[in-house]
Symmetry: C2
Subunit: 386 residues, 2 copies
Amino acid sequence: MATVGTSSSDDAKSHAAGRTGRLFDGLSLPASADFHVHLRDGEMMAAVAPTIVRGGVDVVFVMPNLVPPITTVEHAFAYQQAIAKHTDAQTLMSLYLHPSITPDTIKQAKKSGVIFGVKSYPAGVTTNSASGVVNYEQFYPVFQAMEEEDLVLNLHGEAPPADDITVLNAEEAFLPTLFDLHKRFPRLRIVLEHCTTGAAVEAVAKCGPNVVATITPHHMFLIIDDVVGDPINFCKPVAKLPADRLALLKAATSGNPKYFLGTDSAPHLLGAKRGGLDMHQVGKCAAGVFTQPYATQLVLEAFEAAVAKGVVKQEQLNLTTLEGFLGDFGRKFYRVEPSGRRIKISAKGEQVVPSIQVGGSNANSSGQVIIPFRQNNPIYSLEWTS
Amino acid sequence: MATVGTSSSDDAKSHAAGRTGRLFDGLSLPASADFHVHLRDGEMMAAVAPTIVRGGVDVVFVMPNLVPPITTVEHAFAYQQAIAKHTDAQTLMSLYLHPSITPDTIKQAKKSGVIFGVKSYPAGVTTNSASGVVNYEQFYPVFQAMEEEDLVLNLHGEAPPADDITVLNAEEAFLPTLFDLHKRFPRLRIVLEHCTTGAAVEAVAKCGPNVVATITPHHMFLIIDDVVGDPINFCKPVAKLPADRLALLKAATSGNPKYFLGTDSAPHLLGAKRGGLDMHQVGKCAAGVFTQPYATQLVLEAFEAAVAKGVVKQEQLNLTTLEGFLGDFGRKFYRVEPSGRRIKISAKGEQVVPSIQVGGSNANSSGQVIIPFRQNNPIYSLEWTS
């Protein structure tokens, strides 16, 4: 597999000087698992899917929010085949919760062996969520079938737009729905995706063992101050308060198997991220942070920064905790066997996070690039050792 | 004076169809006063200063955050002369609170007749605030001189960056400082500028009559959801929650002379607003919302929208309240005589908010434009009737 530490990108200059306090230099780990990725399609997929392995990841749970959304087993299967042309990472596929999905679809999905979960998007809250859920009650028969077939329900946990709902309280306002679904379908395995608040972390802790949460690397770095006025850091759900970031860091380093990595890596072209390329107006910026090529590295950078700031104790970061958050806990929840492949982290070949080209030869002049999270920041390098 | 309703801008298409529920069609008002503007310098000033009158405004309080900041009477006077080449609006000048300012500077400032206030920027919180205040105590002798000379203290009311301070709570965290300064210098006239929270509105109400607040038009439209992912709506202080917006609308329509218009109109080139024009990376977006050419019109649009939503009662919007917020209250506080000029609002020649060119002939190709707040939205037209 590719070695990020010797990437040929022009932008990826090595930092000979190095930084001090590098906790993870030389660390050997099992391959990571990323249980929340957006791989898009077309040229974007061709640019993004090959970067999965650069992040030390060999299995991904793939979100279904294409246009149109993936609502059939056939579509999911075709999408998986298309992705496989660009990566040898294992792909766990999902369906987009939609009125066209019936209990029978769920049975087919289970039988396919390809589909591991069904993703629920509340209508209108994030990228390509226009086809999303307005009312969960209509899906109770589907949830019951999922419980019986043992398929995972993946929740984008934000209350839909309303007068008293903002980007700040939408996640907390969703939590009663989480509790309600858990109560109605107690054996249904549920993932509260990309949780961003202390309230969400606590809610998941209160539920039974079949309710878990993914945590993204970027939400362990960001607060709302980093989001306003910085389109690259804008995603849904938005990063919240310092206390929320701290709660995520504590959950991710707790060794509790309820919390594991899902990057929510969500690439957009530069033009979309900055609200267009028009020289006379600015539109809304696309929501999404791109972390795919640095999934493992960013988690380690976030943990290290938290130790340096004194908000996480270094002794928390033992191998069991690290391996658990980065892959073990998620694999056990999704019942995926580890591949046995391993990666090694190094501070010596440290890289600078470069942008990624999308598409053909005119790319330079038209904003056809993806700007990754923490662009131009130094980051651990990573190589595959088996 | 110029008639906005017959602007020659290519972008300003008239809306023949018109909108319903236009409360202010045909309204005649005294010229408005804007007690918080950023006019910049150079080409930007040349583009921006002429738009003051388009907003129905004939007197402005001019902020001193140039680079370098305005800290001497001479600099303020020269700046006023430069502005006068581009507008016949009356300009009330200010100094930037800075260690180089002494009680003697304050005496000179008062004697000049040109300077009406001293603006305090907490270090690091907004555009060109790097020279700002770290500790207020060092300025007590200056504040005492201001109290004696009866110069206004203009406060950017946000606590400086700290671990537990975010863009969301920085204003509320500043309020104890407001109370403290008011207690120490009870006769000092203080303006809490561009207040954005219900807490700030209440704090000002609790103080004596010589503590007042300006309110911007954009904060009567926006909440935090409108700011994340939209660089045009990004300013400091950021827009807060729906309850805060409601408190601002209620204060502005209360008829209480403590609350009056200060637009905080703050132009930036498009490139700066969208985090640069580089096709390979995105920087931080400049903080500031540009409302100058529509100062009066935007206030009326905000009030009308609030009535339509049922959060403000139409009977609040009597002439005394409107004229008070738009000019009377501020003029009385600053002791400025009204000019006697009048404006007329019209729904018939309704405009679309266009962008504004800055500088020379290459403007089209290089993002040399200012994108105003609510670009491409329809807005009342305004003409000067005397």
